[in-house]
């Protein structure tokens, strides 16, 4: 699990995040949602240690405070972290296989055969068999995300961060990627934190949802609670379209009858 306490981040005089406390459990998909500029990406960067908070603490596994770690311990923690980036962030000059094997080459003493077996295992897990020798520019958006997931899980991480995993994907592929992330989270009992504004993800895999508004935690709950919330900002954000408003009223009518 990951626990954050009193996270605040300012750039000069501008406060981007203000006093956020939250706890993210293992085996669950936690979603951070909010409008553009609400501080989601900054919060995620702080949680993975790419950015230092102005104040506050981040506890990995309940004890290790990421903000007070020296380089050596930070490196050790990072080997327990996998991250799926918005654009995949695959290394352009390396093949799919080389991309996935990269962390294994850097941090393990396994034999080449063992490493290749692990790569095949991960590719199979994300339903991408036989893509080993392809380069990132030969992959579709959805395939890039799958390779990104395979690279993120190759070291058996305890923590998985996904930055807008569905951006740029068609609805069907987005559902497949969401399903994959959820399955992996439950299967390996990973603490997964997802940054998204995809409402479908909220409904499908939002075991735990954190809604940010202008850098402040506005609401916290589950995907079931979202349907019945009276929080106006959250309602305006999630049920912005007529279609989703209709879905909500249908859901509430069903619940009442």
């Amino acid at each position: 699990m990951i626990r954050i306490e009193g996270i605040t981040k300012s750039f000069g005089d501008k406060k981007v995040i203000e006093g956020i406390d939250a706890s993210f459990d293992s085996g669950k998909c936690s979603l951070i949602i909010g409008a553009s500029g609400s501080g989601k990406t900054v919060l995620m960067k702080i949680m993975v240690g790419l950015m230092q908070p102005t104040t506050g603490n981040i506890f990995y596994g309940g004890q290790t405070d990421l903000t007070n770690l020296d380089k050596k311990h930070l490196k050790a923690i990072r080997q327990e972290v996998g991250m799926l980036f918005q654009g995949g962030a695959l290394f352009d000059s390396l093949t799919v296989e080389e991309n996935i094997i990269f962390p294994l080459n850097m941090f393990t003493g396994k034999s080449r055969k063992e490493k290749l077996m692990r790569v095949d295992e991960c590719l199979e897990r994300v339903n991408l068999k036989n893509a080993n020798k392809l380069y990132p520019n030969e992959l579709s958006g959805g395939m890039k995300k799958r390779v990104g997931i395979a690279r993120a899980i190759v070291m058996n991480p305890k923590y998985l961060f996904c930055d807008e995993p569905n951006s740029g994907l068609d609805p069907l592929t987005a559902i497949v990627i969401d399903g994959l992330i959820h399955e992996i989270t439950v299967e390996y009992h990973i603490t997964t934190i997802i940054n998204t504004h995809d409402m479908n993800s909220v409904m499908e895999i939002g075991d735990h949802i954190l809604f940010l508004h202008r850098g402040i935690k506005e609401w916290e709950g589950t995907n079931k609670e979202v349907m019945n919330t009276n929080n106006k900002l959250l309602n305006d954000f999630i049920f912005a379209s007529k279609f989703l408003k209709a879905v909500k009223s249908a859901y509430q009518q069903n619940s009442n009858t």
Binding site: L50, M83, F85, Q86, A89, L90, F91, F102, N105, F107
Partner: protein
């Protein structure tokens, strides 16, 4: 002025995190070999073209200026050889290489930065600056002096060839002049310059690439800026080395 000190301090900090023992030797060796091929072999054609023309032009222009019969024709050989080794081969070649290699390094690392590939390395726990920049610096300081040696040879050879072809100086006279006034230290000096310029080209352009902010437009701007700054620093270092070592 504040900006200069900020940039310089950040450059030194980047060097500090870059010039460390590699985390996984085998991977670094592979990357180093790749960079050596890219920087060395990849720049060979342009170095050959530049050097041949520089040698030819210096020979013709020197002959044009030596109008008095009191100065022997062999002086052309001496002037072409010394100016090629001292200045043309290291400085002009490195200015051209700053454009080719510098823009390549800055745009490659800049693109990796904006496409979050550097963030991906850091999250994995890899020292991104050492992994990306160290092989480029080592490859540059090894390959650029070799390119400069090749350039020096080609300048002199093309000088001999053009002198003979145009009839301004015979091959024997050219070689006699080259040997007569040859100072061995000029070769050492030329290599010191090549080594220094190689370090400047790779480290400065990597610095600009590593701290790229924005999108594709900024990558282009960063590459241009890196080349301009590299050229200015090379010229400044050229003067300082000449003042200190000659």
């Amino acid at each position: 002025m504040n900006s200069f000190f900020y940039q310089f301090g950040r450059y030194l900090l980047l060097l500090k995190s870059t010039l460390v023992k590699p985390e996984k030797g085998k991977i670094y060796w592979r990357e180093l070999a790749r960079q050596m091929v890219e920087i060395g072999v990849g720049s060979l054609a342009i170095v050959i073209i530049i050097s041949v023309f520089i040698g030819a032009v210096i020979t013709v222009q020197t002959a044009y200026q030596l109008t008095t019969p009191l100065i022997p024709r062999s002086t052309i050989g001496s002037i072409v050889t010394n100016s090629s080794i001292l200045e043309m081969a290291p400085t002009v070649t490195c200015l051209i290489l700053a454009g080719k290699i510098g823009s390549n390094i800055a745009s490659e690392i800049g693109t990796m930065r904006i496409s979050e590939q550097i963030d991906a390395l850091e999250i994995m726990g890899v020292n991104a600056s050492a992994y990306l920049i160290l092989p480029k610096i080592v490859a540059s300081v090894v390959m650029i002096p070799i390119l400069v040696i090749i350039s020096g040879f080609l300048c002199v050879l093309s000088g001999i060839w053009v002198g003979q072809l145009t009839g301004v100086v015979t091959r024997e006279e050219f070689i006699q002049g080259s040997i007569e006034y040859f100072i061995p230290f000029t070769v050492t000096f030329s290599l010191i310059k090549a080594f220094t310029f190689g370090f400047i080209i790779s480290s400065v352009s990597a610095y600009y690439g590593f701290y790229t902010v924005g999108g594709a437009l900024e990558v282009g701007k960063t590459a241009t800026k890196a080349v301009v700054v590299c050229c200015v620093i090379i010229l400044l270092a050229d003067y300082l080395l000449a003042q200190l070592l000659l």
